[in-house]
């Protein structure tokens, strides 16, 4: 029963918040913030308690040490996002909808948890949709803004389309194997043309979630239109969850056609990294910029997946963890600044260091971590990814990826240049960010710095992961 601990706890606190929301008078809505965060903290902490893995619903739901760790990672991410969004939620136009934010977020998180520990495509599908649909609502959060609504539309429609395609793939898998359980499907995957087709449809569906080229075009618009915290959620949590389950399914269900999907990944990786970087180079709006950078990062993650080994899976998870902290750091800074000043363009950041040194310091660290500069965790993550890919002998792929790191370094440096090098006549005025934001950013920085040095994190991940051979 406690096997499903994460999900149940989340459901519980969702319900609690719902009830509180109902009985809370309009003027007092803000009171819900603190309890929400505290509850989430509890869930996160409890999530770390040891627990014996097990199976429920005849294998539809399977909980393993790995899946628990993944859920914990997601919990941490969501917690940080909660903390970071406080400043934004307290704003006037949001004060009616504060609890909705938490409710929607939590429900998507529940969806992801189910998705991650799915043992069956049905469970996986439900989790997937549960993780997607509320996000569309969140993206369309700001009713008064066309951009926000537009983002919502783009997200929901493209996701509907892609899930349609994915389902079509699933139906073919069902047709060829006659079952939806991962365990039963795996041996029946023979690489028959219909299954290949099925795999590609499935892949397209997932590629949309992870926003790989050419399924990425929605990303930038949605990221730009949605509120910053939702964007960070999209770029980190839902992408992370999708990557996890994608890896798991590839390594378990489609293990037998690894040769084939690694070829697909090979092509897609090159496309994603290169095109993502090229798009990112000339962006002005920081949210779009980070959107494309996150596309490129997703491409790097594929390097790990293509590694196909235990090392590969480890690096994928490890990098995702690092990426959560780094990206949340960056988005945290962007968020607080856009809340306070409404400025989201790179050249608005000119001379930021002179006025808000600490914020720009965090931003710099985050970007360096994304660019993979030592001694920040991003460096280790990237290095291990390359190692994983090279282990399979994909030296050319690694070389291309390495060349791309230079491009990415270039555009990350552009932001740093704006903040530290440029001097502007009207820089963003100095302001004092509230405690929550500071806490959030502090957590991110701690993550970026510690995870790299503390090899134990990596070792733990390694021992829980598994590979193909």
């Amino acid at each position: 029963m406690l096997i499903m601990r994460h999900e149940l706890l989340l459901i519980v606190i969702t319900v609690i918040l719902l009830i509180v929301e109902i009985f809370l008078p309009d003027s007092q809505k803000r009171k819900i913030i603190l309890p929400a965060i505290l509850l989430m903290t509890c869930v996160t902490v409890v999530g770390f308690l040891p627990e014996t893995p097990g199976i429920l619903f005849g294998g539809m739901y399977q909980s393993t040490q790995l899946s628990m760790m993944l859920k914990n990672i997601l919990n941490i991410g969501v917690l940080i996002i909660f903390i970071q969004s406080v400043d934004w939620l307290k704003q006037e136009q949001n004060k009616q909808k504060i609890s909705e934010f938490f409710l929607l977020m939590l429900s998507t998180l529940i969806g992801m948890n189910y998705m991650i520990s799915a043992g069956d495509f049905l469970m996986f599908y439900i989790g997937l949709e549960l993780a997607t649909i509320p996000v569309a609502a969140l993206a369309a959060w700001e009713r008064m803004k066309e951009k926000s609504a537009e983002a919502g539309v783009k997200l929901i429609f493209i996701s509907a389309l892609s899930s349609g395609i994915l389902l079509y793939g699933l139906s073919m898998i069902y047709g060829t194997t006659g079952t939806m359980y991962f365990a039963d499907i795996a041996p029946l995957i023979t690489g028959a043309p219909l299954q290949v087709l099925a795999f590609i449809f499935f892949f397209a569906g997932m590629a949309f979630k992870i926003s790989l080229v050419p399924f990425h075009l929605w990303t930038a618009d949605v990221y730009e239109g949605a509120p910053v915290n939702v964007t960070s959620y999209l770029s980190v949590i839902s992408k992370g969850a999708a990557v996890f389950i994608f890896t798991i399914i590839l390594y378990t269900v489609f293990a037998k056609i690894a040769v084939m999907w690694s070829e697909v990944l090979y092509v897609i990786t090159i496309l994603t990294i290169t095109i993502g970087n090229l798009f990112a180079m000339r962006q002005q709006n920081l949210k779009r910029f980070l959107a494309f950078s996150s596309i490129a990062q997703a491409g790097f993650i594929l390097l790990g997946i293509i590694g196909q080994s235990q090392l590969g899976m480890t690096t994928v998870i490890y990098f995702a963890l690092v990426y959560i902290f780094s990206n949340l750091g960056a988005f945290g800074v962007v968020g607080i600044i856009s809340n306070r000043t409404g400025k989201e363009n790179i050249n608005d950041y000119d001379g930021l260091y002179r006025t808000n040194p600490n914020l720009s310091l965090v931003m710099m660290l985050a970007l360096f971590s994304l660019a993979g500069i030592p001694p920040l965790a991003g460096f280790f993550g990237k290095f291990f990814l390359f190692t994983a890919a090279a282990k399979q002998g994909y030296y050319i792929l690694v070389l291309i990826a390495l060349v791309n790191t230079i491009i990415s370094l270039y555009y990350y440096l552009l932001v740093i240049k704006a903040m530290l090098l440029n001097n502007s006549d009207q820089p963003i005025a100095a302001f004092k960010s509230d405690g929550y934001t500071r806490l959030g950013l502090l957590l991110c920085v701690a993550g970026m710095v510690i995870i790299g040095f503390a090899s134990s994190v990596y070792e733990m991940v390694y021992h829980l992961s598994y590979g193909l051979f």
Partner: protein, 504 residues
């Protein structure tokens, strides 16, 4: 707990101290104290090392210390030094020490400046003491990145452009290096056993030839970029021209040495067979670089450009010597690194001081400075003479060792290359004397300069420290060259094993 760890701990503590200190005076003094300690520990390291050797400790590397870091990937924090790295550490400590004093006038964001400066130094020290490819690479990148901020924020001229160009080119190089390192890692145990990044262990193995041939160009070019190898040197003139004084000093003095050291320690040491088969290509490039840089310097009008091009020439000489694959030449290469490090640091320090007074770096706008600022002028002449390889200064020792060593290769190709490279000493004389003549001697062109002050105490400290360095090596080179050649033993044996016909 070996002494080597100090070289990481001290800078880190210094950085913390700087971040905690109140005003910019305090910042400077913290930096001074930290780097003086660093210098002291470097000197004591040299003495300890010599003592150990005298005591007959013939281990390949001394002061070893080994922590497992990443179990599964077999990454260690593994430090240890041989004669070569000891020499390089001494160089770094000296240059950094001088650099702190040379940047005494920094007023804009001093805390950030010294922090990045010392971070850079940390990277360099780490690179020199580490024997584990992964950690080496980590420190390597750590050393490169602060450059961007240092040039971009405190630089002059087209600083944004130069900083970006420099960073991207160097990181491009390090991307190649990364590929090479990973490649070596996966071939580090050709006959079974766990894969390793351990440089010494790998050097005992024999990596398959085809792998070597694939990896060597990446590693050599990757490090060569930082070593200003023609045609990948163009970051250096712009970078130097835009960088603030201390940064030029550290950059030309120390950072560019990482390239040469890497070529020697990683590319040639671990991939000797490939080095033998492909060496000639890079030898040609290096030879071109030597003469090309020198000739390029003649035409320049900006002091820093002149010096940058001469650095290109001198550093090319380092690669040239490394590619001669014999004990003497390599010994010369290391000594050339050290000598050029100190000498060019001295140059940049002086240029910075002169620029700080005259606010121009164009030699045609200056003249007769000997009358105005005799101390700086004499120091500049000394630096110039050192750079054109005058006996009594380090440059001569290094160059002669290189040429004699290079001439030990019997075949015409190497001989011709040697003679071409040697002819650079004339060209060097030409541009050095040209600058001295126009800049220091003659009449004072601009009467505003007549009232300029001479060196102040902190200028003097940094200048004298560096001059002492070059003169010491120039007058009594024996201890240094012996220390280095002890360190060179293994690599030379490896190279001879790779190509039996080489003369040692």
């Amino acid at each position: 707990m070996s002494i080597l760890t100090l070289f990481i701990i001290i800078p880190v503590l210094t950085v913390i101290g700087i971040l905690l200190s109140k005003n910019h005076m305090q910042v400077k003094w913290v930096a001074v104290v930290g780097m003086s300690l660093q210098l002291l520990s470097a000197i004591s390291l040299i003495f300890l090392y010599l003592a150990q050797r005298k005591a007959g400790n013939m281990a390949e590397v001394l002061f070893v210390q080994d922590y497992v870091w990443y179990q599964t990937l077999n990454i260690h924090f593994y430090v240890g030094v041989d004669g070569v790295s000891v020499a390089m550490i001494g160089l770094t400590a000296l240059v950094v020490f001088a650099g702190i004093f040379a940047s005494w006038d920094i007023v804009d964001l001093p805390r950030e400046f010294f922090t990045s400066l010392i971070l850079l130094a940390t990277g360099v020290f780490g690179f020199f003491i580490c024997l584990d490819l992964f950690t080496m690479f980590l420190f390597y990148e750590l050393a490169v990145i602060p450059m961007y901020l240092l040039i971009g924020i405190w630089g002059s001229g087209p600083r944004h452009y130069s900083a970006m160009k420099l960073t991207l080119m160097l990181m491009g190089g390090s991307a190649f290096i990364l590929l090479g390192i990973i490649g070596i890692y996966f071939n580090s145990a050709p006959n079974g056993g766990p894969l390793t990044f351990d440089l010494i262990r790998i050097s005992k193995e024999h990596i398959p030839l085809n792998v070597q041939l694939f990896l060597f160009p990446f590693l050599f070019v990757g490090f060569g970029v930082l070593g200003a190898m023609f045609p990948f040197h163009t970051w250096s003139p712009d970078g130097h021209a835009s960088a603030p004084t201390a940064v030029s000093m550290l950059h030309a003095g120390v950072l560019m040495k990482l390239g040469g050291y890497g070529c020697y320690r990683v590319a040639v040491f671990l991939l000797p067979d490939a080095a033998h088969q492909l060496g000639w290509i890079f030898l040609i490039l290096a030879t071109i670089g030597v003469i090309y840089g020198a000739l390029g310097a003649i035409w320049q009008k900006d002091l820093k450009y002149i010096n940058a091009y001469s650095s290109v020439s001198h550093c090319a000489l380092v690669l040239f010597a490394i590619l001669m694959f014999n004990q003497t030449a390599m010994n010369g290469a290391i000594m050339q690194m050290i000598s050029h490090g100190i000498m060019t640091a001295l140059f940049f320090a002086l240029i910075g001081m002169i620029y700080g007074r005259t606010h121009t770096r164009f030699i045609n706008e200056m003249g007769g400075l000997m009358k105005v600022m005799p101390f700086l002028a004499v120091a500049y002449v000394i630096a110039g003479l050192a750079s054109l390889g005058l006996p009594g200064f380090s440059g001569f020792v290094a160059e002669m060792t290189i040429f004699v060593g290079a001439f030990q290769n019997v075949d015409t190709f190497h001989r011709v290359a040697t003679i071409i490279a040697a002819s650079s000493i004339v060209v060097t004389a030409v541009y050095v004397l040209r600058v001295v003549g126009i800049l220091l001697l003659g009449k004072i062109k601009n009467e505003h300069f007549e009232v300029l002050p001479d060196a102040r105490w902190y200028d003097k400290i940094s200048v004298v420290a560096l001059i002492f360095g070059i003169t010491l090596i120039g007058v009594a080179p024996l201890w240094l060259s012996d220390m280095i050649s002890q360190g060179l033993g293994p690599i030379v044996h490896r190279l001879i094993a790779a190509a039996p016909l080489l003369i040692k």
